[in-house]
Amino acid sequence: MLTENDRAQLWMQMKAHSDRLFEEIQVLKPDGEVTGPVDDISPDVMREMYRWMVLVRAFDRKCVILQRQGRIGTYAPFEGQEAAQVGSALALAPEDWMFPTYRDHAAAMVHGQPLATVVLYWMGRMEGCVCPPGKHILPPCVPIATHLLHAAGAAWAAKWRGEPMVAIAYFGDGATSEGDFHEALNFAGVFQLPVIFLCQNNGYAISVPFSRQSASRTIAQRAVAYDIPGVRVDGNDVFAVYRAVRQARERAAAGLGPTLIEAVTFRYGAHTTADDPTRYRDQQRLSDEWRTQRDPVTRLRLYLERHDLWDARQEEAWQAEVASRVDAAVQEAMAAGPADPLAMFDHVYADEPWHLAEQRRELATARGGAHA
């Protein structure tokens, strides 16, 4: 039996262990150096990482502009979080199920969502919720943390049929306060589901800093509550994220159950284009700091250049390619023609019941009348 003193000491020791265990894993440092060998990541993959990060960043900036021009609606930018999203998505298999939030379209695009579809989503178009046939990319989840359960359920079905596909849920630090976060991790633990819970801890839930979101120092340590593995990585380090997700994926596919990954990162911009971050944080200083000292794109470029995997010519060519792809996507989305209001009656049910048929006619008449 422990004395009170023993217990106090044990508690301190455990905290110390936990602090080390849940310290931020870093592979690629901000200066482009690596902390250890990285031969498990091929040069091709590294270049792919870089290309994607450049592409999604350009896409993101474009969308912010489109919103200012009134050509799309409120938009949630992810700039600063490219490594977490690109690195994680590249570690997946094509058939894996992805459950993103409103801020995770970088991950979605890497996993196969066409850029134009993403633009349509932010134009308030229902077409923006559809992914290419055969893909398993759910539309952005708006109610916080609810989709962690969907990922658990989809993983369950895969496990049930003995298929090696896994599911990944993306969510933020704020999401960890919702009851559904807890229920999802608990279900995944009990049934050892092949699911990856990827938290991008960008330090803020809109205006609320993580210190006020939870008394716990890290999110990774919450894994202890479910006796599942938890790991904390530098979320601006695409190698670290890629590795952590790859490992979690291997564990999951091997029947070893779920993993909670905390990727520590920062959004450079506003929560959404409707948000003003200067109200709640020293926006200029913080975003400058992260941009200059911890940027995910810069550090990978430094690494690639240093190892002769990328050069100025390639950069130039890729920037041009990116610009044209982004423009093409925007054009495609804008060319979609006016939204069809009557489509709101489609797909409420697999078969249309009488009252919807009637309301469809009612709207058709009203619109006909309006035009007449």
Binding site: W97, M126, E127, C129, V130, C131, H136, L138, P139, V142, P143, T146, L148, L149, H150, A151, A152, G153, A154, A155, W156, A157, A158, W160, R161, A167, G179, D180, E183, A184, N186, F187, V190, A343, D346, H347, V348, Y349, A350, P353, W354, H355
Partner: protein
């Protein structure tokens, strides 16, 4: 093969047959496995189909409904049991924000074929929050279907249809008549179609609309009033509460010119109001008297010592019939 079964047995049989018939079907919920459910609706199914098909979950309703959605997305047909209707409340977000909206927002790409079964209603001397009837919430949620059986035969046929339906169905099982009576129920798979009401008793003087456990109360009132007064009331079991079978409702009211709705949910903003509105829309000129609602009172469902007074009684229904016919 056709035997006399209780509603519970009929429900158990529907689950059994669908588990055997379709390997995508799984059951999940609290205490549904080794315990066979608190009402025994899943009795014996764990032993027969194993832990992969009949799943005891942790105590978390959002977890149950949320993972069921995920399963349904990925090719399964989950049939979730919520232990009592009020315990669906922690899972309402999953139901309202996701299950009901998934097909619509993904333009038909991802449907969520799933059933949520739950015992509901008062009248069994249950503890607090074991007696609610909030079917109106679900009937105000496009994308959901809402089904309530009132007999063993219908319970089985409707549940099979619900499980086979490509859309999420809230299947409300009136506890009060779970074991109250038996009825001939055929042995195999058969379907009672969703969306169709049933004329349970024909009549010319007044139309009574009811469902679940209130159906029998309404029927008895109709029989008594015929004996006492000679008035013949038509009694209609709505069976599917969303979408409603407007045609059957309107046809009856056009014939009788008078109507009464019985439900045990609170009166205000209950489903009775929607039925009155359908009649207002389609058959106002046929009405010889206001449509009467005999409903649960607008108080929190009280503890069981007075639940019989909370619930519509034959006496109140007869009184309502008299007032309507003598209006």
């Amino acid at each position: 093969m056709s035997r006399e079964l209780t509603m519970l047995q009929a429900i158990q049989e529907a689950l059994d047959l669908k588990l055997a018939d379709d390997e995508r079907v799984v059951l999940l919920g609290e205490d549904i496995g080794v315990n066979g459910g608190v009402f025994r609706a899943t009795d014996g199914l764990l032993a027969k189909y194993g832990e992969k098909r009949v799943i005891d979950t942790p105590l978390a309703e959002s977890g149950i409904i949320g993972t069921a959605i995920g399963m349904a997305l990925n090719g399964m047909v989950p049939v979730a049991e919520i232990q009592f209707l009020a315990f669906i409340f922690p899972g309402l977000e999953q139901l309202l924000s996701h299950a009901a909206r998934m097909r619509h927002r993904t333009r038909g790409q991802f449907g969520v074929p799933m059933v949520i079964r739950t015992p509901y209603g008062a009248g069994i001397r249950g503890p607090e929050l074991h007696s609610e009837s909030v079917e109106a919430f679900f009937a105000h949620t496009p994308g959901l279907k809402v089904v309530v059986p009132s007999s063993p035969y219908d319970a089985k046929g409707l549940l099979i249809s619900a499980i086979e339906d490509p859309d999420p169905v809230v299947f409300l099982e009136p506890t009060r008549i779970y074991r109250a009576f038996r009825e001939e129920v055929p042995g195999g798979l058969y379907r009672v179609p969703l969306g169709q009401a049933k004329v349970v008793r024909e009549g010319e003087d007044l139309s009574i609309f009811a469902w679940g456990s209130m159906l029998r109360t309404a029927l008895r009132a109709a029989e008594q009033i015929e004996q006492e007064r000679g008035w013949r009331c038509e009694v209609i079991d709505l069976r599917t509460l969303y979408p409603l079978d407007r045609e059957t409702i309107i046809t009856s009211v056009q014939k009788t010119g008078r109507a009464l709705v019985v439900h045990e949910a609170h009166k205000t903003a209950g489903l009775g109001a929607e039925i009155i509105s359908l009649i207002n829309d389609e058959a106002l000129l046929y009405l010889r008297a206001p449509v009467k609602r005999i409903a649960g009172f607008d108080v929190p469902v009280p503890m069981f010592s007075v639940e019989d007074d909370y619930l519509p009684t034959e006496a109140r229904i007869r009184q309502g019939i008299e007032e309507t016919i003598l209006f």
